[in-house]
Symmetry: C2
C-alpha cells in the first residue's frame, strides 16, 4: 500500500459545493484495478457550455482527439463526461478509436443524448488495448446511480498513482445570485503539461457562453496547469474540461474581467498545486518565481528550466541550498541572462547577487529554509520586467522506485 | 569509496600513443580533494594549432570566457593547458576572473610563454571561491615534472564524480608518415552538452591549420558530444580543446575528407560514450536511433526527448520494455510525428508499428534485450529521411543518492 504524500492537504478532500445541473456516478469495472471504482460518469443538463484544453502531444490518445473534434459543435443539448482509470487508450491504433466510439455510444444510449455530446477520457498504462467491454457493461448501472453530491467519489475513481483525491471549489456572490465552482483533478507522473494537464474536470452553475468560457479557460491554463512540472514528461492524455450549466440565478457572465475569472483562477491554481504536491515521490513543494527577465516568455523558460532540472530537484530532496545548480539551470534555459546581474533567494535569504554569493549570505538561514515542506526559489535576472511563477516538487528515491517498477 | 561504474571499459585505461610536442604533469594542490592529484598541466610545442568548442550556457565560467577569447589569436607560439578539479570557478564574480589570470600568469612565467597562449579549465563545485593560490603554488613543481607519457595521470587529475579515467586514441598511416591522436575526458553529471561537454582534451601530432581543425572539431562535436545526455542538465564549464602539434612526418591535412577526420571522429565518439557510461548511477548504456524523420534536426529532437525522459530512463533501470513511454517522448518532442506511422524496436525486437503493438511482438524477447548492459532503442517515424543517433544511460537510485548529498 502506497502511503499518502506528506504534502497532501491536511484536512483531506474539501467540502465542495453541489453544482446544479451536474450529477455523478462511479463503478468498479475492473479495467486494470480491482476492488476500487475506476469509471466515473457525469451528466450535464441541457444548455451547459463546455470548454476544454488538451495535450499538444503528437501522439495524443484516441479520447483526446475525439474530445477536440466535439468542442466546437452545438452546445445546447444535454451532455456527459465518462472517464476510466487504469488504461489510457493511447497508442492503441484503430482498436483505440473503436473503444472510444463504443463507450460513447453506450453512454449516449443510456442517457438518451447525442454521441457528439459525450466526452470521454482515459488514464493509465499506454499502448495496451482498452478492455472497453468492461466499461460498457457498467454504463446502465452508472446511469441509474447518478446523483448530484458524488463529486468526491468521482475524484477517487479517476486516480492512478495518485496518493490522494484532488478537489477545489469556490462559492461567491455575483450579480443576481450566487455562483458555485467545483473541480477535481488527477496526477501524478508524466506531468509537464503542454496545454492542459492530466485529467481535470471543473463544474460550475455560471451562465456563460461557450466562446467566452473557452477564452477564460485557455488564459488561466497558461497561468496554472501550464506552470507546473513533476518530471518534464508530457502525457499523451492531458485533458481539462470545464462545464458551465447556467443554472445559477446570477446574471450571465459576458466579460473576461468578471469576478468569475478570478474565482476560477483560484480553483485551477489550487488543483494544479495539488497535482504537484502528489508528484511521484515528492517530499517538497517548490514555488519558483522569476522576475527581471527580458519578457514573460523568457521568465517562464527560466522557471521551467529550474523546475525541471534533475540536479536542482535532487539538491532540494537533499535539503541543500545549492545555488550553483540554480545558476546552471538559468544558464542552460536559452533565455537572455547576464551572470553578473543575477540575484537568487531561497525563501527570504538572499544567496547570490552581482555574479557571486552575497556578502550577507547565511548558509545556516538558507539551510533552515530548505528543511521546510514548502520552499521558494526566487530569481531576479536584473534585465527587464518579464515575470513568471511555476511550481514543482523534489526528485527522490520514491520517483525511481515508482517508475522503475510500474508500467504506466 | 564509490565503486567503478559497471559500464566501465573492461580493459581499464587504454594504451594511448605518445604525441610528439606534448608533455604532461600532475600535482596534488588540495583545491578540494586531498590525497589525489587535482591539477594537470600540458605543454604544447611551438607551431601547435589549437581549436575548441565550449558551453553555450549564459552563465558560463570565467575560464570558458577566457579560453574563448584566446582561440582566434596567433597560434605559432608555444602554448599550455592547465586544469584543476574540485572547483569549477563558475559564478565566482570578479574573484573568478582574478583566479584565472593568476593561474595563467603563473603558468606563462614558469614556461616562458605568452599569457594569451595559456588555456585554463576548472571543474567541480559551482559558486564557491577558487583557492587559486593552492594551484599557483604548484606551478613550478608541475613545470619541472613535464613528461610526454603522462596522459593517464592527466586523465585522473581532472576527475570529479567520475568513477574511472577516460581515454581514447588512434594511430593511422597517412601520406608521408603516421599520425597519432590521444584524448582524455571527464564527466559525469550535469551532462547535456550544448556545444561541447564537460572537459575533453585531444592531442595529435597532425599538421593542420587552425581554421580547418576548428571546422572539423565543430562538425564532429555535433555528431558526438552534442549527442549524449546523462541528465539533461548543461554544465557551466563544458570545454573541448584539441591541440595539433604538427610534429608528424605526414603531409599537412588540407581537406575535410582527409582520413584524419574519421580517425578523430572515432576518438571523439569513444570518449563521448565513456562519459555516458560513467553517468551518475548508470547501470545501462543506451543507444537511441531515430530514422524516418522529417529532417535530421527533427530526428535529433526526438532522440534527445527519449534520452532525457525520466520515465523512459527509469523504465530502462527497471528492465521494463515500456514502449508506451517511448511513444510519449516522441509525442512531446516537438518534432513532426504521426502516431500511426511510428515503429519502435528494442534491440532487434519490433515492438510497435501502425499505431499499436506489433502482432509479432514477443514480450519475452524484449524483456531479454532489456536485461543487457548495452541497449538499443530504434524509432522509425515513417515520414521522411531525417536520421540521428544519441546516447544516454538509465536513471537509478544511484543518481539520486549522489546528487541529493553532493554539492556540485
Amino acid at each position: 500500500m502506497v502511503s499518502v504524500s506528506p504534502l497532501a492537504p491536511k484536512g483531506g478532500f474539501p467540502d465542495l459545493p453541489v453544482i446544479e445541473g451536474v450529477s455523478f456516478a462511479t463503478a468498479e469495472a475492473g479495467v486494470r484495478y480491482s476492488g476500487r471504482p475506476d469509471v466515473m460518469l457525469a451528466r450535464l443538463s441541457a444548455g451547459t457550455s463546455i470548454a476544454g484544453v488538451f495535450t499538444k502531444s503528437a501522439t495524443r490518445s484516441a479520447n483526446v482527439l475525439d474530445c477536440q473534434a466535439k468542442l466546437g459543435l452545438d452546445s445546447s443539448a444535454m451532455a456527459a463526461i465518462v472517464v476510466n482509470s487504469g488504461n489510457s487508450n493511447a497508442f492503441t491504433g484503430k482498436g483505440g478509436v473503436l473503444a472510444v466510439q463504443s463507450v460513447n455510444a453506450a453512454v449516449a444510449k443510456a442517457l438518451g443524448i447525442a454521441e457528439n455530446r459525450v466526452f470521454s477520457s482515459a488514464t493509465g498504462v499506454i499502448g495496451e488495448a482498452l478492455p472497453f467491454e468492461r466499461i460498457t457493461a457498467k454504463i446502465d448501472e452508472l446511469s441509474n446511480n447518478l446523483c448530484p453530491d458524488l463529486i468526491k467519489n468521482a475524484a477517487h475513481a479517476i486516480m492512478t498513482t495518485d496518493t490522494y483525491a484532488k478537489g477545489a471549489g469556490a462559492v461567491f456572490d455575483a450579480n443576481g445570485g450566487q455562483i458555485s465552482i467545483a473541480g477535481i483533478a488527477k496526477g501524478s507522473g508524466m506531468i509537464a503539461p503542454d496545454m492542459a494537464t492530466m485529467l481535470v474536470y471543473i463544474f460550475t452553475d455560471a451562465k456563460i457562453a461557450q466562446p467566452l468560457l473557452q477564452k477564460m479557460l485557455t488564459t488561466l491554463t497558461n497561468k496554472t496547469f501550464n506552470c507546473i512540472t513533476v518530471d518534464s514528461d508530457t502525457s499523451t492524455s492531458d485533458s481539462l474540461i470545464i462545464a458551465a450549466t447556467g443554472k445559477s440565478e446570477a446574471a450571465e457572465i459576458t466579460r473576461t474581467d468578471d469576478p468569475f475569472f478570478e474565482a476560477l483562477h483560484k480553483v485551477m491554481r489550487d488543483l494544479a498545486h495539488q497535482v504537484v504536491k502528489d508528484g511521484e515521490g515528492a517530499t517538497k513543494f517548490v514555488e519558483v518565481q522569476v522576475l527581471g527577465a527580458d519578457s514573460d516568455a523568457d521568465a517562464h523558460k527560466v522557471g521551467m528550466s529550474i523546475a525541471n532540472s534533475p540536479l536542482v530537484k535532487t539538491a532540494i530532496a537533499g535539503q541543500d541550498p545549492n545555488w550553483g545548480r540554480v545558476v546552471m539551470a538559468v544558464g542552460k534555459s536559452g533565455a537572455k541572462a547576464d551572470r553578473d546581474r543575477l540575484s537568487i533567494w531561497f525563501g527570504d535569504v538572499l544567496v547570490a547577487e552581482n555574479g557571486w554569493v552575497s556578502p550577507d549570505y547565511s548558509e545556516t538561514d538558507a539551510a533552515k529554509h530548505m528543511k521546510g515542506e514548502e520552499l521558494l526559489i526566487r530569481v531576479d535576472l536584473g534585465i527587464g520586467a518579464g515575470q513568471s511563477t511555476v511550481w514543482t516538487c523534489d526528485l527522490t528515491h520514491g520517483y525511481i522506485k515508482i517508475n522503475a517498477d510500474y508500467r504506466s
